[in-house]
């Protein structure tokens, strides 16, 4: 059939990977000098016995080898496991790298490639931290790995939502590819019809894959005592993910019957080729599939996809790059750069000295440098330590700055990084003492800028509802969130004469919206992109505007 890539006919023997004890036993067998293939064929272990093909089937690499790549110099198999795909890549490419984070599988692969005489280099590293030396890769294979990257033990894998971890992972691969280089991904389809009937793609509970993420997380925490992090998506979801990671020319194929034992790779609109693989089972199931086919949705309900995408060619320009714009985009991880433009909303202040509390993005620092002659820094811990109890039992802070010597105090992580605060730090009298001390330093009419993730953002609330308390994890923020009401109260107690609260929404460019109903309603009418406009406008009109925005900041005026 035209457009159908035949791979090889093998029997489906189930899914999954080997339990750790079986991997250990397998590696021990090979360490004893048994050839790898013989060890796999003869070792009698419960899971291994059922999945011998898993480690031998060259058809698993057939799809990737069919991709057009710029050159055949370097291929990389990320999460190589037993090395079955890396083996085939090693036969076709001048050099192949197999990346694996499990030390035992690395050992297994080294034996395997040595015995096969293949030029495959095994790197034992977390896929989220590819060595910088891995560059100019022509083909990167991610076979059944993308869904697992957020479940690793490393801190990188634990911080942020699974989607963010997956994005970081894809971006790391993108930067390792040469311009025009391709990534090949094999992964399950979230909309596979069997998942609606209780089938389990990985080790989750039934139906979890098709639930809304927050519900899936809550159910998994409740029943399994761990978060739900093996996120899979529909074709549309994968496309968005890859686009966000900076890939172009994204194409989807149905891996039939599954990518674990592929026989053919078929474009999703080739229902004639897909139907024979799905028309199995009960009469009602066949009828349902016929209905799906009639609706043109059959391709969207297959078990798994093969996805390919390309790293775009870099553009060179005749004009020098705008350093602000590019650096800012990279540091912030999203295409916005005007963060320090909030200064234009502030009242006129002196421009001689700004004081930064805690860490600040270089982008922000440059913004402040453009507005102030002198920018100095104080770590959050120093501010925390400076706040002590006096003889009357009241908290006092003492920083080595003269009264009214600073025009503007800026902190983007005071709330987030305030030590030893599991609850909101605004309940901590030490923080109020520190804010009072900061007020002392500020010139009359000067500013304190305090920003952080909005504690009332609906997603933050959902996460809190699933038992994470205020320690919400997003974009590297692991501490408490900024509660505008509490912050305003604390600043008023610290003696600031006026506070202005704003929400920030990250879009094509930032939007900075005053924290009040009318402003949020007006903004929602103008908002781009125009997704969920009616719903959001309704929320704003009902006074639930605080739920809509992920970030917030406060300008406090002395």
């Amino acid at each position: 059939m035209e457009g159908v890539l035949p791979l090889r006919v093998v029997r489906d023997t189930g899914q999954g990977t080997l339990p750790p004890d079986e991997v250990t036993a397998l590696v021990q067998e090979i360490d004893r000098g048994v050839p790898w293939q013989r060890a796999i064929s003869t070792l009698t272990l419960p899971t291994l016995s059922r999945k011998r093909d898993w480690f031998l089937d060259p058809a698993k690499a057939a799809f990737y080898l069919s991709l057009e790549v710029p050159t055949h110099r370097l291929a990389m198999d990320v999460g190589a496991g037993s090395g079955v795909i890396a083996c085939e890549l090693g036969r076709r490419f001048e050099r192949t790298i197999a990346v694996e984070q499990d030390r035992r599988w690395c050992r297994f692969m080294r034996h395997r490639f040595l015995q096969e005489g293949l030029p495959v280099e095994v790197i034992h590293v977390d896929a989220l931290r590819l060595p910088p030396s891995v560059t100019n890769v022509d083909l990167a294979v991610v076979n059944g790995v993308l869904e697992w990257v957020a479940t690793g033990d490393s801190a990188d894998a634990q911080v942020g939502s699974p989607r963010q971890v997956q994005l970081t992972f894809l971006r790391a691969i993108r930067s390792a590819l040469r311009p025009g280089g391709r990534i090949g991904i094999a992964i399950e389809n979230r909309l596979h019809f069997e998942y609606f009937r209780g089938a389990i793609p990985h080790d989750e509970l039934p139906y979890v894959a098709v639930m809304p993420r927050w519900l899936a997380d809550a159910v998994t925490r409740w029943r399994q005592g761990k978060p739900y992090r093996t996120w899979i998506y529909s074709a549309r979801g994968y496309k968005r993910l890859l686009q966000e990671a900076g890939f172009i020319r994204i194409a989807f194929f149905a891996a039939l019957p599954t990518y674990h034992h592929p026989e053919v790779a078929v474009p999703l609109d080739r229902e004639d080729a897909i139907r024979p693989y799905l028309n199995r089972g009960s009469r009602s199931k066949r009828l349902a599939l016929q209905l799906l086919a009639a609706a043109g949705l059959l391709g969207q309900t297959v078990n798994s996809f093969y996805i390919t995408a390309e790293r775009p060619h870099e553009m060179t320009t005749t004009e020098p790059a705008d350093a602000h714009m590019l650096d800012g985009s990279r540091e912030a991880g999203y295409p916005l750069t005007g963060a320090a433009n909030w200064l234009w909303l502030a009242p006129r202040v002196g421009r001689s000295r700004a004081l930064v509390i805690g860490e600040i993005l270089p982008l922000y620092r440059r913004g402040l440098s453009a507005n102030f002659e002198q920018v100095e820094s104080v770590p959050v811990t120093s501010l925390h330590d400076a706040a002590t109890l006096d003889s009357k039992g009241n908290h006092r802070a003492n920083l080595l700055y003269e009264d009214a010597s600073v025009d503007c105090v800026v902190s983007t992580d005071l709330v987030n990084a305030w030590p030893a605060s599991r609850r909101s730090p605004f309940h901590d009298m030490r923080l109020v003492a520190a804010l009072t001390e900061l007020r002392r330093l500020i010139t009359p009419g000067g500013l304190l800028f305090l920003s952080g993730p909005n504690a009332r953002w609906y997603r933050a609330l959902l996460r809190r509802g699933t038992g994470e308390s205020t320690r919400f994890v997003r974009s590297g923020h692991t501490g408490p969130l900024l509660h505008l009401g509490q912050a305003r109260n604390a600043l008023t107690r610290a003696g600031f004469s006026e506070t202005r609260a704003y929400f920030v929404e990250r879009s094509v460019g930032d939007a900075v919206v005053p924290a009040c109903r009318r402003a949020t309603m007006a903004y929602e009418r103008e908002r781009m992109p125009r997704t969920n406009v009616s719903l959001r406008a309704l929320w704003a009109a009902c006074g639930l505007y605080e739920l809509l925005y992920p970030d917030a900041f406060i300008l406090a005026i002395k």
Binding site: I248, P267, G296, H324, N341, L345, A370, A519
Partner: protein
């Protein structure tokens, strides 16, 4: 001491010291930092700054501000737009605008038009109605262009005709060969050269449905940031028609089917569709109408089309747009080069006027 945004708003007639005023200022589209670290002319400076929406006490938007670095280009542009917006004949087309500025920021502040955007309607309009609407809009744009020349007679710099090849030279130098093959570039260059010189017409530069509103029975045109900088006829026509074509892709498909089509089909090409009489909807009628109205020959129209595509790609490259946005234009440019090599005359799109 630098002037702040508040004092600029006061210059524009607002009372920024009024209680609660700052709860009525929304900063949108906040991009690269102001003040800019270095002030230079060119497109990149337009990425700096932010826009702001000013509300009245009832939360109704009244003014829209564009705040950019005070480059000579931007100051000249805002002054030009201010004068045009004051023209009595355009009082139902352009919102009244004025400009105020300081050392760090120059702001164009215009009255807010509370109309319905044209963009969401394009997709669902019938072809004939859409054609009529586009032609109305293009006629308005023609009027603005004529008034522009009267308001600022210097805008043509004493030249009534424009040499397309000379005008496009920078674009060919800007697009790297890795994106656009030299052989294809040569074909496009030849097509532009063949058009020779044409009559200058001021162009909006970014005329597409998002910059058009319908309010009070009139079409309102917005975003005149680049007005008059391009003076090649049909540029706005191509941009408008292409944008509408993009917005109407997949029209007639059910929603779920559309998603499938978008995911699976290779991205369609506007230029490819221009050649075919069966697949075109709006483009044909409007392009023929616009070409005849401008009095251009087919060769000149093709030259203008090639100019439009190469100029757009070059501007996107210069502004360092992500590749996914440049890609469709590049693909159109490549297909145009292929068509021209094969001797395509685009008779379906421009009619059979003698060249």
């Amino acid at each position: 001491m630098r002037s702040d945004f508040g004092s600029l708003l006061e210059q524009a007639g607002f009372d920024a010291s009024e209680r609660g005023f700052w709860q009525r200022v929304i900063m949108i589209d906040n991009r690269v930092l102001l003040p800019a670290t270095r002030l230079e002319e060119g497109d990149l400076m337009k990425l700096h700054g932010f826009n702001a929406l000013i509300l009245d006490r009832n939360g109704v938007p009244t003014h829209f501000c564009k705040c950019r670095p005070p480059t000579k280009d931007w100051i000249r542009q805002t002054e030009f737009c201010t004068r045009i917006s004051m023209e009595p004949s355009l009082r139902h087309v352009l919102p009244p605008t004025r400009a105020v500025g300081s050392m760090d920021l120059h702001m164009a502040i215009s009255e807010y038009v509370p109309g319905r955007a044209f963009e969401p309607r394009v997709r669902w309009m019938r072809t004939g109605k859409l054609d009529a609407a586009i032609q109305e809009i293009l006629l308005l744009m023609e009027t603005i262009a004529l008034r522009g020349v009267i308001v600022d007679p210097e805008v043509f710099a004493g030249q009534t005709r424009i040499d397309l090849a000379a005008e496009a030279a920078w674009a060919f130098d800007t697009i790297p060969p890795s994106l656009f093959a030299p052989s294809q570039a040569a074909v496009v260059r030849n097509a532009i050269s063949a058009a020779g010189s044409v009559r200058r017409v001021l162009q909006h530069g970014d005329l597409w449905p998002r910059n058009i509103l319908r309010y009070d029975g009139h079409w309102w045109l917005l975003d005149f940031d680049t007005f008059g900088q391009i003076q090649v006829p049909l540029y706005d026509v191509f941009h408008m028609v292409r944008s509408c074509w993009v917005l109407r892709q997949g029209r007639g498909e059910a929603r779920w089917n559309l998603r499938r089509a978008r995911l699976q089909s290779a991205s369609p090409s506007w230029v490819k569709d221009l050649r075919s009489p069966s697949t075109m909807e709006t483009s044909q009628t409007t392009l023929k109408w616009a070409r005849a109205r401008q009095g251009l020959t087919n060769v000149e129209a093709i030259g203008a089309l090639a100019f439009y595509l190469i100029d757009t790609v070059a501007r996107m490259c210069r502004r360092q747009h992500p590749m996914q946005y440049v890609e469709p234009y590049l693909s159109d440019l490549g297909i145009l080069a292929e068509c021209l090599s094969a001797g395509e005359t685009f008779a379906c799109a421009f009619g059979d006027a003698a060249s």
